[in-house]
Amino acid sequence: MSETVRRKGRIGYLLLLPAAAWLLLFFVVPFYSLVATSLFDPAGSDFRGYEMDYAFGNYVDVVRDYAGPLGRSLLYGALATMFCLVLGYVLAYAIAFKAGRWKNLLLVLVIAPFFTSFLVRTLSWKLILADDGFVVNTLQALQVLGDDGRLLATPVAVVAGLTYNFLPFMVLPLYASLDKIDHRLIEASGDLYANPFVGFFKVTWPLSLPGVVSGTLLTFIPAVGDYINAQFLGSTNERVIGNVIQSQFTDANNYPVASALSVLLMVLILAMVLVYVRRAGTEELL
């Protein structure tokens, strides 16, 4: 394929300008505003507004007060990402290597369920996992759950909901990576007497790493920030950081605390992502 010629000159700027301006105005500037708000004096009243006094103490306060929800968000997000990786890998692998001419149809089917509203989908999990529902009764009959055991309003339901809702974000990048793999490499490993398992771990898995990395990031980031699953499928014991930020903003009107939590969440995620991408050795992705 011939290399596309890139034209120089002002037209490039003109084409980019509207989108870049929109993102600067409504993404970059707001983030600055969020950081500023997080340093306001939380004692400010509604009448005279908040005052900037570089209240870094806000961050100490939110870590002390909300370490629980923050930790839960990260834990639930990490667990859901792990389950998504297992389920998503199987599905992506089956589509890329075993589906033959049904590939495109299956890809459409992967995203099809996710066209229904996110909230409606999550609500239907509430029904599936309900006490006395089919799933709970079966698990009780199999003695996996105790007689009064339940799934709804437990961390299990929250993680299950997150896993379900973010699965396509895992499957699509994994598929893109797996589909690019040259089948001859896998055959070659077989010719060199690697059994299918060794072949998988020495050839297929390493070659699919870019997909694994972008899939886990695309799943982990929204899963950590989500609070719909915790709200619908969990109880008050499963409150996550998103719940707290939302209610601090809209119910408690405590903007500095809510902003500090938000900034903290973003910084934590960025830090984890950077470390992860370093360790996975796929920096060119970013």
Partner: protein
């Protein structure tokens, strides 16, 4: 046994796929549910009432209409701006290209709750706290759809050979003709895909919207609000319709592509 071993991965994969459809079956089933008693999370008896009167519950259809309006507008603006930017990034060379790529990547790497609270902080700080509503939701939706449009269209453009365009130019087509007759039709599937993605992102959004909505209520916000008191069964009718309509659109696009390739 051998048959099973060869197909094990495929069978497991299909099982995962079936799992993703379970909630859809529930939604479709519940759209025919007459709960009878108070528990709306159980199947009572079969009825067509929900389908005959989808707008029955207060606010359901008005919030749906608000959502559709916002999503259409957000899709339009984001698709146009995003497509222009994608052309700039693939076809043009200028200082600051990599910074621009980063600017486009970052909103996708930020959790929604951070995007939403940042915007709210800005609106409040700049004195727009009283004006939160339709337009602030629209601004927010365009913001988070833009990056996805740029990425989708950029992928299409980057994977495109420019041989056809070169050929058109060699045959004395003007740049405008080349763009209209060759470049644009080739990129169009990417643009349509991006628009579809934008629409569903915008239509489905709750977290960012909820923070910046003021007194305006969108459909996801309506569902969220009803969750505590028990969601009306008609919500499942809407869920079913959304599923059917989007499948129809996707399959329609796929068929059109196939026919084109065949022709």
């Amino acid at each position: 046994m051998r048959w099973l071993r060869e197909r094990l991965v495929l069978i497991l994969g299909l099982l995962v796929l079936v799992y993703t459809f379970v909630p859809i079956f529930v939604v479709v089933g519940m759209s025919f549910n007459n709960p009878g008693g108070r528990n709306v999370y159980q199947f009572g008896s079969f009825t067509l009432d929900n389908w005959k009167d989808p707008c029955g519950p207060d606010d359901l259809c008005s919030t749906l209409l608000t959502s559709i309006q916002i999503s259409l507008l957000a899709t339009l603006v984001a698709t146009v701006l995003g497509t222009l930017a994608a052309f700039a990034l693939v076809r043009h060379d200028f200082a600051g290209r990599s910074a621009s790529n980063l600017l486009i990547f970052l909103p996708m790497a930020a959790p929604e709750i951070v995007l939403g609270s940042s915007l709210l902080a800005l609106f409040v700080a700049s004195g727009f706290a009283g004006q939160l509503g339709f337009w602030t939701i629209l601004i927010a939706h365009v913001m988070f759809c833009l990056s996805f449009v740029v990425v989708t269209v950029r992928a299409r453009l980057a994977g495109m050979d420019d041989d056809l365009e070169q050929a058109a130019m060699d045959l004395y087509a003007t740049p405008v003709q080349t763009f209209r007759r060759v470049t644009f039709p080739l990129v169009l599937p990417g643009i349509l895909g991006a628009a579809l993605l934008s629409f569903s992102l915008s239509f489905d959004d709750f977290i960012v919207t909820n923070l910046n909505s003021g007194n305006t209520t969108t459909f996801p916000m309506y569902v969220y609000g009803q969750e505590r008191v028990g969601v009306p069964m008609q919500v499942n009718v809407v869920g079913t319709l959304m599923f059917v309509v989007s499948i129809a659109i996707v399959l329609g696009m796929e068929l059109r592509n196939r026919r084109r390739v065949a022709a």
